[in-house]
Symmetry: C2
Subunit: 150 residues, 2 copies
DNA sequence: CTTCATGCAAATACTTTGCAATCTT
DNA sequence: AAGATTGCAAAGTATTTGCATGAAG
């Protein structure tokens, strides 16, 4: 299932759950937020705030960039959205509907590939535990180039 | 050997190597660059540009912040300095005299601990190779909190 | 002396914020 | 009606850049 497919399922099924999550937090389900959730759910790439703003405007032309930023912050606080900051570039965003994963970034094209390694996850936990810490969250980004002989 | 000790050795021994590295690249060994290299070599923490600027000023009061930024960029291009961008905070810098390592960030204090896991390094290489990529560089950051029972 | 580097100030890029008007509930 | 949310414009950070002066090779 691609992320787009997940997005469609999400629009039908989990969309109400998101609405509920907002309501439970005392937040309102407004047109800008609905549009942003739709856009995020449909996004197969990892758009930044400006890109999201443009896509939201296609659905709801009056939404401002500040509102996109504010909504993203609110959605992040609710755990519905994750903020990714690759190598000093503008922040990119993804929904948290998919299970945890890390990112491979193609340094030539900017493409982002999601992956997951349970072995690495376990090693990380072991490393910090030995030092008396507990893991709050982590970032693993692999900046890559297509192999010439591949 | 702490990073400070490494720094002292570096000032005496490898400092000339750095000077040579700059000269070989057609770059000049100026007072601001000398001061910045001294400050970086002595730094045990991972300072950002503003902090570096203040420390450089203690040695060379007229150096401007733009020069610090420009020097850092130049030193980075020569591979003498590495830029770290943690979680959307201002970039931090470290010399490349120490072997490769990743970072643990204490989310409460901001402290940074260096660590290295050969197992994780190898797993990373395997993952990208299976996808037809070669690893250019990577970032692994473990955001942690001291264990209460530790 | 030729060219690169610097300081200053202005510009840029991304993101946040104050405030009055406007929607949700 | 009460309070959260929005749009707009302005402010805030972090970083880069144009340009004339100054220093390094």
């Amino acid at each position: 299932m691609t992320k787009q497919d997940r997005g469609k399922v999400l629009k039908n099924a989990a969309r109400k759950a998101m609405e509920a999550a907002l309501r439970d937090a005392g937040l309102r389900f407004t047109a800008p937020r609905a549009a942003l959730l739709d856009v995020l759910a449909a996004a197969d790439d990892h758009p930044d705030a400006g890109e999201l703003h443009q896509r939201v405007r296609a659905l709801s032309p009056s939404v401002s960039l500040s509102t996109v930023y504010r909504c993203l912050t609110a959605l992040e606080a609710q755990g519905l959205v994750q903020r990714l900051t690759f190598d000093g570039a503008p922040a990119r965003f993804e929904t948290t509907d998919a299970p945890h994963h890390d990112h491979i970034i193609d340094v030539d094209t900017g493409d982002v590939i999601e992956f997951r390694s349970d072995k690495i996850e376990k090693l990380q936990a072991m490393i910090v535990e030995e030092l008396g810490y507990e893991l709050v969250h982590h970032r693993l980004e692999l900046y890559c180039r297509k192999r010439s002989g591949a």
